[in-house]
């Protein structure tokens, strides 16, 4: 039987869609508050650094970015196809590469904190 990576990327899509559904709206709300001049206390440098330095903070930040990135990447691949961009192999390579690089970068930056 031919090997397929569909179960993996579809699983990441399902997990990513669920994670982003639960937390992206409230995170946007937090950054919007900061943008409008009411920086939430946790988003102040010292506090956020303290949060990102803890192991549960690292897990939370990595989990949100990793799943949201891979979920969006897979959906973007399908969206490109639906908009008539039929070079699926190229699109898949680009979007998954961005998700992979983003995941590694998240680990590298979190490790530095």
């Amino acid at each position: 039987m031919a090997k397929s990576n569909k179960p993996i990327v579809w699983g990441l899509f399902a997990a990513g869609g669920t994670v982003s559904a639960f937390v992206i709206p409230v995170l946007v709300l937090l950054t919007l508050l900061a943008a409008l001049g009411h920086v939430p206390t946790t988003l102040a440098y010292d506090n956020l650094r303290g949060f990102a330095a803890s192991w549960w903070g690292k897990i939370a930040i990595f989990g949100v970015i990793f799943f949201s990135l891979w979920g969006s990447a897979h959906r973007l691949r399908i969206t490109c196809f639906d908009f008539g961009l039929r070079a699926d192999t190229l699109v898949a390579t680009v979007v998954y590469a961005v998700a992979a690089v983003g995941s590694v970068a998240t680990v590298v930056y979190l490790a530095a904190l």
Binding site: G17, S20, A21, I24, V28, A35, S72, T79, Y109, L113
Partner: protein, 134 residues
Amino acid sequence: MAEQVNRKPYVREVSPTRWFLRDRRYMRYMAREVTCLFIGAYTLMLLVGIARLAQGPAAYEAFLAALREPASIVFQVLTLGFALYHTTTWFNVTPKALPLQIGEEFVPGGAVAGAHYVLWALISVVILFLAGVF
């Protein structure tokens, strides 16, 4: 010979780039798909924020200043709208994607979706509280 065969070539009437404009259901499907552009871009913005945080106070303050740019605010407001649309459509489809069976009966879809909405509200309030908004 081939030309004779192709005198009336089959022409697909469906445009590969505008097919979804024919039906509101297709347009809603595409609106759902497009949410990933905003959520993906916003996630990359979060990643930049973590990078700036790792680079020190000056870099992080510059990131917060960039958040206040009008273009950034417009982007975030649009992202909020698309993210809310993603959340509601995602929860509404969850009972169909993962039907929950207890004994002989399937749990009604409304109950499964409703439980997701309750959990969503709870998570949002807890995150706002932990972030020090109230």
